[in-house]
């Protein structure tokens, strides 16, 4: 088990009803964190238009996660 801080942004935060939580998870990749928190963010498709960052660096869904990491879950962006 790893202790991970998961942060939700924009629509994910609204759906989750919280901006951040600390979880104990078996996840080994960012995609697994995304799947394990689906009941919060409500999004089915991690490999679609969503993005992920680990410890303030943009990451890919197959990036490994380590104990203590901060995982940022970004819904599809819409700047400009």
């Amino acid at each position: 088990m790893k202790t991970l801080t998961v942060r939700y942004f924009a629509v994910f935060r609204e759906r989750a009803g919280l901006a951040e939580e600390v979880l104990e998870l078996e996840a080994s990749t960012a995609a697994e964190v995304f799947a394990a928190t689906r009941h919060r963010h409500g999004s089915e498709e991690p490999l679609g238009h969503c993005k992920v960052a680990i410890n303030d660096e943009m990451a890919s869904w197959d990036s490994p996660v380590a104990d203590g990491d901060i995982i940022l879950l970004f819904p599809p962006v819409a700047g400009g």
Partner: protein, 146 residues
């Protein structure tokens, strides 16, 4: 190079900061809040950014632009918070010796900023609804997952 602002963008002042005696061309782009989007009458909107990564990624975008289309200076400012119709949501300015580079770098920056920076837009509609732009899929999946 790039900044996130919670107050009104001042294009005039930003332009003046790019002045350079070697510059023969200045191209700027502004994204304005318009009153319709995809068939909805928009009342106002709200931008949210994750600033640390928006800045990091924005710096990369600008460096790439100036490398691909050699220019002199480039800058981008993106608003966050609540915006009304007509307000400037994003501003990009580029100076270069010749116009081709200024146009291309400016276009590159706004295109990449829209696709890569962790910034989200929530629209508030005249009919009282609201919605996160580009999120229909995650919204509909979210609903079906309930």
């Amino acid at each position: 190079m790039i900044s996130i602002s919670s107050t009104t963008i001042n294009p005039d002042q930003l332009r003046d900061a790019l002045v350079d005696p070697r510059a023969g061309a200045y191209c700027s782009f502004e994204g304005w809040v318009r009153n319709r989007n995809e068939g909805h009458d928009v009342l106002s909107l709200e931008y949210e950014a994750y600033e640390p990564l928006a800045i990091t990624e924005g710096k990369k975008v600008i460096a790439e632009a100036l490398q691909k289309f050699p220019g002199l200076h480039a800058q981008c400012v993106h608003r966050v918070g609540k915006l009304e119709i007509g307000e400037c949501a994003v501003w990009v300015g580029v100076t270069s010796a010749h116009r081709d580079e200024a146009f291309q770098a400016c276009r590159y920056i706004i295109d990449e900023v829209k696709h890569r920076l962790p910034i989200w837009k929530k629209e508030y509609y005249v009919n009282g609804d609201s919605g996160w732009v580009n999120c229909e899929r995650c919204q509909s999946h979210a609903q079906s997952a309930d």
